[in-house]
Every structure is written in C-alpha cells, then in structure tokens.
Symmetry: D2
Subunit: 383 residues, 4 copies
C-alpha cells in the first residue's frame, strides 16, 4: 500500500486535481494523505478546505503558512514557513511519494521539503509556458521532481528538453479536464446559485445569459494590479449582460486587485454585478458552460474552457504562450479591446471542443502510474 | 553604483569566490554587500567567518540558520529558516543583484528569496554534473537565476540546453582557479602550519611529503557515511607518509562521518595523522601544491588540482561526471582500491596543468559583467 | 548616547507611546531605534506605519510576522516568527535598552528576544488588571522585564507584589495621557474628517454630536466574537445620532468581528453609520472630545477618556478590573443594556476629569529615566 | 480520558519527571502524549531520546528546534522555532493539559504555545530561586501557567506571592526524588559502567571511590564559561581520586565550556579522568550514591543529593538561593576553594538525608491531580 501525499495550497489547485484525489482514494494499492495548506485554509480566499471536507476527503494535516503583508517579502517568507511546517508533516506521515501541483510560489515549499528529505516527488503540470514568475517556479520544480505528469504534448517535449528522463515523463492530460467531462448543467442550477454561494453585490437575473470574470494579479506586474483590474471593470461597467465576478487568489498584488474592486464598488452603482468568493469546482464548470464566456486571466479559460468549448477573453500576460484551443481571444489591459472581444463573442458562434489538455481520464492514469512506478529520488540530467 | 549582495554559506564556497569578492570590492561601479550565513558562521565547521574578517571584508549581515539534527528534515528546515532570514536581509539591503554560489542545499534559500522578491539573481557554477542531490539543487537554481557564470564549456552548453538565454550565460571559468594562479608555496610555509592552524592528533614531519584528505558525506548515501569514511581510514592507517585530514562540511550525514573519525581515533594509534578544522584558502592550495596528492571527494580535487597539476584519488560518487583533467584517479569506497591509487600516484609522474576550469581571471570577468548587464528578473524558457 | 529600541506592533500601541517616542527623539543622550512590526504594518488593520512616517519618525526595521488564520494557533506562530525576526533586528541594532509596550500577545516576542539576548528590557503599562489572556501576557512580561514604567498607583503596587525591586518601578502615568493633554479641538476639524480619512458607509452630519465605537474581539471568548459585535450593532441600528465605527485589531477572533460587521452592513441600511479603518492619535482624541461618548471595549475609554472627561459605555470583560474614573458605565453584551447606557449618558451631565492614569508628562519622565538608569539585565525575585 | 501532553527538551528534565511520566502512563483516566524536543533529540547532548525509548515510552512527536550558534541570539531563535513547531503539534494532539518542566529557556516555547492556544498549562518546579536568567524564565512561566506543582514549601509560598490562586498550587515535592527513593546500588554496577556508557578518556579503577563532576555554563556569565570550567579542571587535575566528568547542556556558553574541556585534554594528561556524555537517570543516581561526592553546579546536587545524603561542592551562582540540605558546600569559581571543599568532604562524615524536596511520591500525587483538576485556562491575579 503506497502512501501518496498531496499538498493543496489554493482553491484552483484543488479544482485541478480533484479527480486525481478521487482516483488515488479509490485505488486499491494507494493510500491518500491529503494536506491542506496556505490560502486553501483561509476564509478571505474562499476556504477551499470547506469544499474539500464537503467532498468527503479526509485531511491529515493543515498547514498555516501565509504571512500577511501581500508584498513580495511576505511571499518569500510564506515559502520559508511552509518548508518548516511541511518537513514536520512529511516526517510524521512518511509518504512514499509527494505530489506538488503546478506552479504557485508556495508549491516550492512542498517540492523542497520532499526533495531534501529524499522522498520521491511527482509534479503535475510541469513543462508549460506562461512567461511570468510562475514559469521560474514551474521549471525549477521540474528540476527537483522525479516524476512528471504533464498536460499536453508541448509540455512533454519541454520537460524532456529540460534534461529529464523520458521514462518518467507522462502526458496524461490535465485532471481538471476529467471534471469537465462529467459535468452536466441543468437550468435549475442557475436558480439556486445565489442561495448556495452567497456573495455580495446585486442579484441579476441569469436566465438570458451572463459573463464570468476571474482575473488574478500578475506577480511580476504588481505595481499595475489596481490599474489592470480597473480596465476590466471599465469595460464591463455598462454591459447589458449580468457579470458574475470571482475574487482573486492570495498572490503578491492581490491587495491592489482587491482594493481596486472595492473602491470601484463604492464609486459606481454596479447593478448587474454579483461577486462570489468561491465555488465548488463542478458548479463553476456548470456556470461556465451556461455562460456567454469567461473574461480575465484564469488558466481555466485556457484549459477547461477548451474542452468545454466556452469562449474566453484572455487579458494580459498571465497565460502567455500556453497552448490553447480556438475558444480564446487574447487582449491587452485595455477596456476598449476587452469590450470589442466581448462583442465579437456575442456575435459569433460557439467554438468547437478541443482535446489539447487531455481526454478526461488524467486522474485514473496518474493514480495507476503512482502505484507502479519505481520509488526513486535520485537522478541526473540527461545531457 | 550597483549593490551586489553575495551570500556565503560554507567554508568551501568562500574559498571558491574569494577573488570575485575582491574584484567586486575593487570595482568602481560596484558595492559589495557580503552576507555570511549557515555553517560559515559556526565554530565546528571551521568558522569561515574568521577567515573572511581577517581577509579584510566587511560583513553586512550574519544569518544563523543551521538547525541541529544533522538529518534530512533539519536540512529542509534550515533552508526554510534561511528564507525567513534572508528575505529580511534583502529587504533591508535592497541589492541590485544577488549572487548565489554553486549547489549546497542552503543556497536554495538565497535563490528563492531573491527570485521571489524580484531581485535579479546570478548563479555561479551552474550547469555541472555530479549525479547526487546537489545536482537537483544546482539545476533547479539555474531555472530561478537570471544570469549564469559557469566554469567550463560543458557547463555552458548544459545551461543553454536547460532553456536559458545564451546572452546571459558566460563561461568565465571558476573564480577558485584565480586563487590557485596566485599561489606560491615556499617551504617555510610547511614549518609553521601546525602553529598557525592548531588542530588535533599527531604532528608528523612534512618535509618528505604528505597526503591531504578531505571527504564529505554524500547526502543521498547518508546511511553509509560512517562505513565510507572507515574505508578511507583503513586505506591510510598503515601508510608511511603523513596524512593531513580536514573535517567534513555540515551536510546531512556529517554526523556519521565525524563519529566514524572520532571512533577510529579512539581505537587506533594514528601516529602519522593530523586533523585540521579549517585553513585559509591560499594556505590550503599551498598545502596541496606541496603534497603527494589529495584523497577524498572534494571538488577541489577536480577543479583547483587540475589547474595546479596535483594528483587526486577521487572516492565514490560525489564528483561523478564532473569534467576533469588528467590528474584524477577515480575509485570506489574500498580501502584496497584507495591504497592502489595512492601507490600509482607515488610511482607515477606529476600530471600536467589543465585549463578545463578557467584561466585565472574569472573574478574580474564576473565583476565587469555585473557592472554592465541589464537588471532583469523576468524570463521565459527558450523553447 | 544610549540606543533605545522601541517595538510598535499595533495601531493603539503607537498612539499610546507617541509622546514617549518624541521625548526619546528629543533627548540629547538618547537615540531612538524605532521598529514597526505585526499589524502596525498591515493595510487591513489601518497601516499605523503610514501615520508613524507622517509624524516624522525614522523607522529602522520593519518586521512582518502576522501569520494568517486568525485562530489561536496562528497567534502562537506569529509570536514565534516575531522572535525569529526581532532577534536578528536586535543583533544588528545592538540597543542598550529595548522597550515593549503593554500586553498584546505579540509583545511577548519583543520581551523574549531582548531578555534572552541579555538586553535590558523596559516594560510600559505593567501591573494592570483585565482578567483575560492579556493579563497572563502582561504579568509574564513583568517577570522578564528589568524596568517598569507603570501608569497608576494600583499598577505600581501590583508590580511590587510580583517580586520586582522598588527601585526599578516608576509610576510615570500613561504616555497616552500626554497626548490627550495637548489636544485642542476646533469645529473645523469635524468638517474635514471624511475627506482626510476616507472609510466606507454613509456620511452623516456630525454637527449635532455623534458616537464613536471601537470594539475588539476578546481572545478568550473568540467563539462569541460575532455574536458580541451583533449585540452592539443591534443597540445602535436605530439610534438617532451618527455612529463613527472603527475596525478592530488583528486579534484571534477579529475574523468573527469583521465578518459580523460586514454581514450586518449587507443586511441593513445603516444610514447613520460611517466606518473608519484608522485615524491619527490626536485626531482620534479630538473626535472623542467632541463626541457624545465612546462605545465598545477599547482601553482608550478607560484611560484617555478619564483624563478628557468623555463618557464611555464599556462593553463586556475586556477592561475588567482596570482602574477607572467616573466617566465609565459598564454593561454586558446585551443590546438593551447598551441602549440604556447610551440613554443615561445623553440625559446626564459631562463627567469630571480624572488623573488616575497620570498628569500628561509620562513621555518626558520615562525618557529621562532611560538616560539615567543603570543598564542591567540580571535580577532575582524580592522574596 | 484526559490527554496529558508533556514536552521534554533536555536530558536533565527527563530525569526529573520520569516517575511522573510513569504515573501518568499507569493512571486509568490519563493518556500520556510525550513530545521530545530540542537538545533531548541531539547526539552531542547525550540523546536523551534513546533513554526515553529504552524506558518504554511512546513518543508522539519529535521537535527539532535547536538553532546552531551557541550564542544568545540562537537561544532566542530556538525558542521562536519551538513555538512554530509546538503549536502545530498541539493543534494535532489536542491535549487537555500541557506540562512544561522547570526553567530552561526553551520551556518558554511550550508555555507560550499552550497558553496562546487556550490549553490549560501545568508548570512543574515553579517558585524556586536561582538568581540567573533561568529565574526570569521560571517566574514568567508561572504567570502563564494555570496549575503549579512545586517542590518545596518555600516555592509554594513564592508562587502564592506571585499572585496565583492557592487552590491551584500544590507542593508535591520533586518527581526527581521519587527516582532517588527507588534506587539501590550494588557494587557490580560500577564494574560495568564503562562498557555500558562508553565515553572517552582514561578508565580509572572506581573501587576505592571517585568524584562526579557536572558543571554547566551560566547563561548570564557566558563570556567567563571557559575560564570557569578551567578553574574546576585546575582544582581536580592533581587529585588522587578518579574523576567522572559529564558533558554540559546545550546552553548559551556551552561552546566555551566544551572548548575549555577539549583544550585542557589536549594539554594535560588526565590519567584519572573519564568523560561521559550521558547516563540513564537511575544509573546516575547509583553512581552518585557510591561516590565521594558531586562537584559542579547541577541542580541534582541540591535536590536528589539532599535526599540521598551525597556531599556536594556547589560552584558559582547557578544554584544561588535554592533551598538546600546540609549536604552542600558552596564555593566560588576558584580552584583553591574547590580543592579545599573536596578535602573537607573527604575528611568529614556523610551528611544526613533531607526531605526538603519531597518524600518520593511526587509523580503519583501530580498524576492524581491532573485527573481531577478542573480544566481552566483563564485566570486573574489575586491582588
């Protein structure tokens, strides 16, 4: 029975690997050790932990490591505290394999703790390109990891080029797509969404369509985060359709983004805006399926929306160079361009489904690999 | 005036970059901010700080971050504490560029703090191969660093293959070689060495030659560190020549190595052994030049000894796949093989000098580059 | 020239010692080393640091140590991080005396760092009684401190009984009173207050009087913090006078308090409520002087309001057993009792001024003592 | 079933409470949660953990928190790290009561974590006087603790005077005495001691008596720790009797003490000295019973030796003002005075047994109280 320890540090990471967690839990030869850490524990970032508990997972450790400050120094320190805490957790749990997800700054704490403690490390979603600080973190983790479960052919090629051994790189597709495959939206769902998720702002009628917005600060552009969010707000202020807006992640710069939104709300009467803190992953996908489209810079637009065929207005540099389907229109931080893209989508036809990020069985593929792969923590570059 | 912050975490790292520190100090457009951290501050690892002060450098911050335990968990935690402390130091010093040296586990703390705080990061000695945990750390730091000052053509090629931009990779050679170039040994030196450096054990006469031993624990083989050191001790116990032995670094496993040596000393009467804790870099090179050869697994054997033409018995996996000159004989952890290699060297002729790790001007080359390079902390993989 | 290091960890602590900081700064034989830490640095707790900078003080170190979570574990951990950071700060600054203020949980980090580093420690506002967790912290710090600057005769007696030497206990009065003495309110002030401090909510006309509310969570009653704040909100919801409400400190429980206020705002149309995050100490005192009275559990009600003769409705256990003037009406967490107390004040006459917390020269008295006291860090209990 | 969490941070603390641990383990209504931390985990301070495991206790958490440096800053930081780690441990274990032992600097980490997390805290050995930094820590912990199990009538009186409630102060005697009561020494024991405990130095014959030495650095006098140990070494260098010497605790200053001993060993041929790292508590008591006497500044001399009637030469200030039996001769750091005291003991008669620190049932008394006391964490000073 192999013990597989997965560390979840943020709401979106949880959504991304939920089907993997289920597949590990269901696998006869695997035992899931689920650790919840960082912003996934915090109320003001949507308490992912509540969703996790409600989904029926057992949590074996909680790690509080977010240092307040919302500046870059605090992000570094949160990583340091994360290492202090996670190393104690790993010492206690003695996992056979540790899994770290994607590229948020605090996932580095998971990677370093496991790597330094000679615990085999698996990385999910390596090899992708975004062109920001996340990319440094992502490729750096690839060089610490022993197994690579990547989400596209481009990513696989890149991890190979980084000097990793082919036999430990697997293009399983992204587990987030698994979830998208199972989702089935009925119209009752929309009627109950305000009751179920609360939130603040107006309660516009969603029956004739709406837009979903999710825009995070970009860590290398934090001094502009307030300005950037205001461009999006300007673009949507006079829209006729309802706008369902999701609060940003706890990244450096979140303060600028949050303050920008709050100030805007004080200043303008946004009668067609509703603000959510969080949503269960399946419900979020249902919401997207029924929407006119997604606006912002979330990776959900690139990934799940490709599979679902949902149109996306992708703003700015955060998803730069990520492989994408035909559902995405890229624009800069400019309210006019955002407005135009919204128009284009409204007047066009729904895009086709794309398999660029997998076919919906990533969770099961990865769980099977975890049960079979040799346990190694020693490697050398291939060139 | 650019502020260049260099973090020294261990005795050997200091030796390695001493000429670079001098070149920065001497450069009209650069200000040196020297931070001394980790085992470089500790008495039982040779108090590198005393040497640094004696060499005339001003130290702007001391960072105590070594957590006792000498196990892998403690190594992870020391890194976490290092990040907590260094991020405060960087916030105070506001360096224009931070320099991290080589690949010890705690250099990761320097790299992460600088990278997460959007401070341009230069890495010295990236791109090399050793095949142990150091390699994970080294290449992982390459992916966090913005500038790469590498020590050989092989290393340069490898950093390029890792997806870094050619224009920020420079084969300057290794600064440690600069030091080797200046060293000039006279025989008076040997007469004063016991007085100057103290240490314990016998005081064998060095006039007719001697061997130098420096063998560190290998972090991926720590359960064998005591056995490994005993093989070397067995090989040299009955040697006719004097043996000058240096205590190991504070790595995971150092406990096994140290205990092994101590127990051996209690058990055997080692009349031709003297033990040193530390030595100023130049004196260490002088000592090597006058010796029959170096035994152990120190990178000095691969690097400085190549330039100096000093024979080396390189034991075990720690220097695996590093480029080497003709001065090295590789053996396993086996007292018979070590003995044979010692014999071979005694009966052979002195090897030729090799430029594989540079021509002795690395410090000045790097200082000039630091004054000219654009200040960047944003990059994307080249493929 | 003695170096006096003062660590400010929260907005109210700054207000409390501002005149002491000025007196140290002005003293010929003292050098002020001002460290700003914890919630005093954070936007969502009112950025005391901005006020400090505006007041013209030089800040020699900033210490981010608030771990997110707003639970008791996070409070403990914030203290641990505070010790890690402050010990580095003290090592760098080499103060002759460190000053810690009052009894917030994180002041313990200051006390322990100084005490363990053999730096003479002065404590301001020891010896008081409140009957909650703060009291454990306060008296515990007394036992670590070398000098005691207390604010009342009762406090002086108590510190003596705790086994401290009489010659190092001084009833200087509270420095917060110094500030109150200098304050002079003109009516223009009220006209500009919304512009100067922003905040959210309605903008009621203040010309005919108003109430000020400041109610913090009580750390030993955190499970009730939401309920407690709602009682106060209920009591004031239908009041005819304007209500100026200040957000709470970052204590365990702040989350409950904040959420309670936010939810209430969503639910009710509070047309006579305005919410401030923070205010400069003098302006806050001016505001109090002009008000009908203060409602909540702030120590300002007990202390400054006694000196100023401002009526206070003191709610719950937070100020239990503190010496008080005749200006205070104590009530439980009950909206009816709060309402009644408000009525009583409106119908009664203004209370008289009381010197129970000093006569307005505490800052200068303490600064003089700091310049003269022998530097000691060694003591033994007196019985 | 109450969960009682005991945190052991050093070898001597374990000896002191061993019978309490046994009594908790044996109690039907108590569950023991044993946490081993700090120097109790470290090889170079005698690996108390090995003894604990051998004694059959189950360890539920190990906490590595000793930061290397052996200076005062490192002691402060070790306490900070201790809080970070212990708060996670307490969150996981959810103890009903936490027990902290005595007054070492790192016990403060236990006290603060428990107190800040609203876990009832019991303190063992409060109320005593020593006149050094330990005293600040000890009385400070008393002010954080909810229950007090003290070891003498003097201590009980003092805790009352500190403002604690009589009903929560219990003079149970010291659990270390329980152990002393059970000890029974036969002469075979001495024959096997070198084999059983190893150690370094000579192996003098113990049949005709010997002296035991245990001298720790004094944290407020660390700059003298090397000089102080040398006075003791000078006093005993030419003694005719064997000397069994125990290495010091990991306190600030331990470095000076250790270096002093090592340097002395290199310089002099100490043919009648043997050095031990550690010893099981019972064996240590057996050794004392059979000895001429104990020399140094260990509290064992004041406490267990009183009960056992073993003569003691108590050096310096470390045990100042502790209640003592007639078995103690106090001297300063002066080799002549130490010599004289040794002579006096050799020529005098064996002192009588004293009950000043209890009658041998402290462990059972405390365990019973732990099962019955109301669970409280809220208190106020009694005056």
């Amino acid at each position: 029975m192999r013990k597989i320890c997965v560390v979840i540090t943020a709401r979106p990471s949880y959504s991304r690997v939920k089907t993997l967690l289920q597949a590990i839990d269901a696998h006869e030869e695997l035992e899931l050790q689920l650790v919840v850490a960082a912003s996934a524990l915090l109320d003001r970032y949507g308490s992912a932990i509540d969703v996790i508990v409600k989904d029926g997972f057992e949590i074996v450790a909680k790690v509080f490591n977010v240092l307040e400050g919302e500046n870059l120094t605090a992000a570094a320190k949160s990583t340091g505290i994360g290492i202090l805490e996670l190393s104690s957790v790993f010492e206690r749990l003695e996992p056979d394999i540790v899994i770290t997800v994607a590229d948020r700054f605090e996932t580095m704490a998971t990677a370093i703790s496991a790597c330094y403690m000679n615990i085999p490390l698996a990385h999910i979603q390596g090899g992708e390109i975004t062109g920001n600080i996340d990319e440094k973190v992502r490729h750096s983790i690839t060089k610490l990891a022993d197994y690579h479960f990547v989400a596209s052919e481009g990513a696989k090629k890149r991890v190979e080029l980084l000097g990793e051994q082919k036999k430990y790189i697997f293009n399983t597709g992204c587990p987030s797509i698994d979830l998208a495959m199972k989702v089935n939206a009925n119209s009752d769902f929309l009627n109950s969404i305000y009751d179920k998720y609360g939130g603040v702002g107006a309660f516009p009628d969603l029956a004739n369509g709406y837009w979903v917005v999710m825009q995070h600060p970009v860590t290398t552009e934090i001094e502009f985060s307030r300005k950037q969010i205001e461009e999006t707000l300007d673009a949507l202020r006079d829209l006729n359709d309802p706008v369902l807006w999701f609060w940003p992640n706890v990244d450096a710069g979140a303060d600028g983004t949050s303050t920008g939104i709050r100030a805007y709300r004080e200043k303008y009467d946004l009668k067609h805006f509703h603000f959510f803190k969080n949503m269960e992953p399946e419900d979020f996908l249902r919401l997207l399926m029924k929407s006119h489209g997604l606006i912002g810079n979330s990776s959900v637009g690139i990934r799940e929306c490709a599979f679902l065929g949902v149109p996306v207005v992708n703003i700015g540099s955060r998803q730069n160079r990520r492989e994408r389907g035909e559902n995405v229109i890229d624009v800069g931080y400019d309210h006019n361009h955002i407005k135009q893209a919204v128009e284009t989508i409204k007047n066009g036809s729904r895009p086709k489904q794309s398999m660029v990020y997998g076919g919906g069985d990533a969770g099961i593929q990865i769980a099977n690999l975890l049960s079979e792969l040799p346990l190694i923590y020693h490697k050398t570059i291939t060139y």
